[in-house]
């Protein structure tokens, strides 16, 4: 029995639900942003849902993920409270970190989602350290570091991957290669095309995978997670994907072409999974529509919660500097 065969319709329906929740959440926020209703900055992940969902579906609740400035997908996929992250984006007292974090710094410690990091690449050695701590304590937990193509050029990537390899740390490095770091195309910041090739430099396995196919993500992640859990060390997983919207709020994407954009939308991970479920597996179209409506309601409830929540107190600015 190959791993592929173990993917059940239930798993696919769950993945469909999560990807839909992420997509619809991000689109909902985008519409609110266009109306000037979202405070602070905004880095969205439409198009990249399959990576977040495929990876996190292989993790246990006590495994840790370290996300980035673009955290919503990862957080939702790991099971974070939608209300708490939404309230955080609105800077409310009920936010997952009490309004101190904002959109780039989301967390839900109850499900192993650590504070997402807005210093590109910084979470790579940090996730490695968590993995080292698991190993030291004899635990079979794993840590995941999410980062982008752009992050693979920073020193922390090099140092973190090398240390993880030599320490045989139970960590999985997930590079979402969406071809751009902000406005800068990958071809102008490195001469290689597959970030996964860098794994060789550390004597670590590296795989470059279609990030628009949640099943491919799941299978590759499962292998890497099991490998890590069994004490056989880290893996670098690169997923080719695309961010549909701008890098951050108000980015009109003048640096990339419509054709390229469309070619990725044509491979949309959610539509691909919908087709598979409906055409190949005979799931009723309505069942998926129901799921989507449920997502929508959950999103609206989360936004309502956020809007209705109180501002943090002035005193809370001074709290939690020291433990």
């Amino acid at each position: 029995m190959t791993i592929q065969e173990t993917i059940s319709t239930e798993w696919r329906l769950a993945a469909f639900r999560q990807m839909s929740l992420i997509r619809r959440y991000e689109e909902h926020l985008y519409l609110l942003f266009l109306q000037g209703l979202v405070p602070g900055t905004l880095h969205q992940c439409q198009g990249q849902e399959a990576v977040a969902v495929g990876i996190c579906s292989t993790l246990r609740r006590d495994d840790l993920i370290y996300s980035t400035h673009r955290p919503v997908g990862h957080l939702i996929a790991k099971g974070a409270s939608l209300k708490a992250i939404t309230a955080e984006i609105w800077g409310k007292a009920t936010g997952c970190v009490g309004g101190k974090g904002g959109q780039m710094h989301l967390a839900d410690f109850s499900v192993g989602a650590m504070v997402s990091n807005a210093i590109v690449g910084a979470n790579i050695p940090i996730a490695t350290g968590s993995a080292m701590a698991f190993k030291l304590q004899g635990l079979d937990r794993v840590a995941v570091s999410f980062f982008g193509d752009g992050a693979s050029n920073i020193g922390a990537f090099h140092e973190g991957l090398n240390l993880a390899a030599v320490q045989n740390a139970p960590v999985i490095f997930v590079c979402e290669n969406n071809l751009y770091a902000a406005s800068t195309r990958i071809s102008s910041t490195t001469r290689i095309t597959d970030i996964a090739d860098r794994a060789q430099a550390y004597g670590m396995p590296g795989h470059s995978i279609d990030g628009m196919d949640v099943e491919a993500v799941y299978r590759s992640a499962l292998e890497a997670v099991e490998r890590a859990r069994q004490g056989r060390g880290p893996t670098l997983l690169e997923y080719k994907t695309y961010r549909y919207r701008g890098h951050s709020r108000g980015d009109p994407c003048g640096y990339r072409g419509n054709d390229e954009h469309q070619s990725w939308i044509d491979r949309d991970p959610i539509e691909r999974l919908r087709t598979r479920l409906v055409a190949d597996l005979g799931v009723a179209v309505d069942r998926l529509a129901t799921i989507e409506q449920e997502c929508q309601r959950e999103i609206e409830a989360a936004v309502e919660f956020a809007l209705a929540s109180p501002e943090p107190t002035a005193a809370s600015c001074f709290e939690h500097v020291f433990a």
Binding site: G40, G99, K100, G101, A156, T184, T189, T190, C317, V321
Partner: protein, 345 residues
């Protein structure tokens, strides 16, 4: 400032761009490097400052780098030692910590370590200041640099100063840390910061320099000296108006250059006013204000009629929510009330 020169209305972002344009026109060894600064169809850096410059000077002189802050500064150091005048940008000032070895152990020290035989004429531009992006995107990092011998540290508060000081910085033979406050850029359209305070002033279109190492007395007064920089200069000026209504005339000094620091002018002002209030967006403990206070306590102690007070950001990381950021960043009200307290019987 020659008053006959032609002027044009410029935001600080435009004034900085104008300075870089003139510097590149007048010196072929000047080049820019940073993330997203020259991409065609892109942003012109995080705050539009370099917009259009790659069209004018080509991608060889407006270099889009990988996300490699250490190499950005390191390459600037190497280029500077090899006869060029690089202007490096961190997209946000906070990322300079990724390049700190190159700033502190290399750029700052190489002239000294070479016993004066090489120079490191680079400029490192750092957008600083709170702007609702949280703890890793809004720190005021002045005092990490003022404490590092070998670095000049400047921080203009107006478009006019920004242009003249950037030209002077590029032409200076030393490494210059050039701090730019995000809320002073005054950019337009979607990339304007929401709480911006300064949208444009008349700036000469020609080539001029403001000597590094000077302060600017923005308002004369007899009762209290308020020393501030960047955004805080503007808040101090607003505070001064309110204080004036209470009968307190504040002298407001813009320390647009922290290293070298014109402590003489501050000292003379304190001798006149006998009271000193320092206002900074940097954290209180060990901010540049501590040094100004210490220098004053050393040089002008006997002129003082009241304790030296500081209004600064608290010793907490920068919180993100607007409601918390307002608590964090010194406000006009805090400046007024602290200044008033110097006159309490």
């Amino acid at each position: 400032m020659t008053t006959t020169a032609a002027t044009s209305r410029m935001s600080m972002a435009e004034a900085l761009r104008d300075a870089m344009r003139i510097a590149m026109q007048t010196d072929p060894t000047v080049f820019l490097l940073g993330e997203d600064i020259g991409v065609t169809g892109g942003f012109g850096g995080g705050f539009t400052v370099t917009l259009g410059l790659s069209d004018e000077f080509g991608h060889e002189r407006v270099i889009d780098t990988p996300i490699s802050e250490g190499a950005i500064v390191g390459a600037a150091v190497g280029a500077a030692m090899a006869g060029a005048r690089p202007v490096a940008e961190m997209q946000y000032g906070d990322f300079v910590f990724c390049a700190m070895d190159q700033v502190v152990n290399q750029a700052a020290k190489m002239h000294y370590m070479s016993n004066g035989q090489v120079c490191v004429p680079l400029v490192l531009r750092l957008p600083v200041g709170a702007s609702q992006r949280g703890a890793q995107h809004g720190q005021c990092t002045e005092s990490f640099f003022t404490h590092t011998p070998g670095l000049k540290v400047v921080c203009p508060a107006t478009p006019y100063d920004a242009k003249g000081m950037l030209l002077a910085a590029i032409r200076d033979d030393n490494p210059v840390i050039f701090l730019e406050h995000k809320l002073l850029y005054g950019g337009k359209g979607s990339r304007k910061e929401s709480a911006s305070v300064l949208f444009g002033t008349d700036v000469p279109t020609d080539d001029y320099e403001i000597p590094l190492g000077t302060v600017a007395v923005r308002r004369e007064g007899t009762d209290v000296t308020i020393v501030a920089n960047m955004l805080m200069v503007h808040r101090a000026l607003s505070a001064a108006e309110l204080l004036s209504e209470q009968g307190i005339e504040a002298e407001v000094i813009d320390v647009r250059s922290l290293v070298p620091l014109d402590i003489k002018t501050i000292e003379q002002s304190v001798q006149k006013t006998s009271r000193l209030l320092i206002v900074e967006e940097d954290h209180l403990t060990g901010g540049w204000g501590a040094e100004v206070s210490a220098l004053t306590a050393e040089r002008a102690l006997h002129y003082l009629d009241a304790p030296i007070l500081r209004v600064a950001a608290p010793d907490t990381p920068l919180p993100c929510a607007a409601s918390l950021e307002r608590v964090f960043v010194p406000s006009v009200e805090r400046i007024v009330s602290t200044a008033s307290s110097l006159f309490a019987p």
